[in-house]
Amino acid sequence: MNQEAIKELLYKMADDQLILGHRNSEWTGFGPLLEEDIAFSSMAQDKVGHSLALYTILNDLGEQDPDTIAFTRNADQFHNTVLTELPNAEYDFSLIRHFLYDTAEALRFEMLSHSSFEPLALVATKVRGELRYHTMHANTWVKQLGAATEESIGRLQQSLELALPYALGIFEPSPYESDLIKEAIFEGEKALEEKWKKKIEEVIAQTQLHLPKWETIAPHYGGRTGKHTEYLQPLLDEMSEVFKIDPTAEW
């Protein structure tokens, strides 16, 4: 099996989960209502857990141990899509990002549960219940707020338009696309993107939100090859603060 292709896939998935998990965890204690604070924090913790599972596979393939991978790289060595590193700003943006990203994540894992690369297929199968909840949570909120008041619809619409170019960046073409498809490791970013668009359309159609035509949205690429915004490095510095003081600390 093409190890380089597998590693590229694992790194971008794991980095997405770690960065978005950390970003979402910034809401802990500040959520719009207690129950939502708990739910969003809990899902952020799930995401960090997914990144650990994927970094562990990378470790088995000869990469460094998960903590070293997570806490010692600089921004330009991360392969997360830019969508995941953008600051939270207000809750409507975090919610829309959660909806757009988690829909893609759930579909990606669903596709990977049939992967010929068994360790990844096992992880994908195992986390399906968590992802089912994440998408249920996102869809329910988007349907609720996307059809509630003028303010809630307006806010979601604005965040949706802001986030969509970055969301398309999730599917940045991989140099290993044909290898992954040929070896039945993964059906590829293009196939995932098509499934994702259908799903997003399906949910948005149940709201008063307006989805711009896909061809009018220019995808924001670069994250997969380490081209990030100024927001990623401060996140990494904050996330690795304790590790850098004491790499053996348990907390």
Binding site: E26, G29, F30, L33, L34, E35, E36, I38, A39, S42, M43, Q45, P87, N88, A89, E90, K126, V127, R128, G129, E130, R132, Y133, M136, H137, T140, W141, Q144, A148, E238
Partner: protein
């Protein structure tokens, strides 16, 4: 003053001068959450969540009440749709205050919950078919009452409950592995002991 928590310093600035105070009671309604801890065990009342509607209540209840201890299924119902039997004191059984009711209107299904111990949660004991909650209580007294004392009875129309769909049963798949969410898993006492031992030397 700047906070030591960088997240606080990043929060969007609010224009507090122009913020109108909230109207009293301007908050979401409450919903009652029932949890089934293991397959074959009865559902029991676990607590409440605030939510704008039944579906949101279900979504929020899942994490609020089932992110730590074992669970195989949940359901929720709006608080106002729970019919509560007459309150009792001491050893007085709640069924002593239930009397026969003449059926009126269409028959539907009701879920019945018993409080077996004061201060504990209501437990699901079965369903009955009746035309209204009071008649449901009467039928429950005929069909579901046992020798066990019951301090209070809840009745909920089955159609008012948001159940877990068959497809969503895998929501709790990885729960047994999330012991790290228990405060006990952090072993705070052990860590403190090690620290104190180390600082003695």
């Amino acid at each position: 003053m700047k906070s030591l928590d960088p997240r606080v310093n990043r929060l969007p600035k609010t224009d507090s001068a122009n913020t109108a105070p909230k109207v009293p009671l301007d908050q979401f309604g409450t919903f009652e959450v029932f949890v089934q801890p293991k397959a074959g065990k009865p559902f029991q009342h676990e607590g409440i969540v605030h939510a704008p509607n039944l579906e949101m209540a279900y979504v929020l209840a899942k994490e609020a009440f089932t992110r730590r201890f074992t669970c195989v299924s949940i359901y929720v119902a709006e608080t106002r749709n729970i019919h509560i039997s007459a309150l009792t004191d001491g050893d007085d059984d709640a069924y002593n205050h239930v009397s026969e009711v003449t059926p009126e209107g269409e028959k539907t299904s009701f879920e019945i919950f018993h409080l077996f111990k004061r201060g504990k949660q209501h437990q699901h004991v079965g369903a009955v078919v009746a035309t209204n909650p009071n008649e449901a209580l009467w039928i429950a007294s005929q069909e579901l009452r046992t020798d066990k004392q019951v301090f209070n009875i809840w009745t909920i129309r089955t159609s008012d409950i948001r159940f877990t769909n068959q497809d969503d049963m895998d929501l709790w798949l990885t729960l047994p592995e999330k012991k790290f969410r228990d405060a006990a898993a952090y072993k705070g006492g052990d860590k403190l002991k090690t620290f104190l031992e180390a600082s003695k030397n």
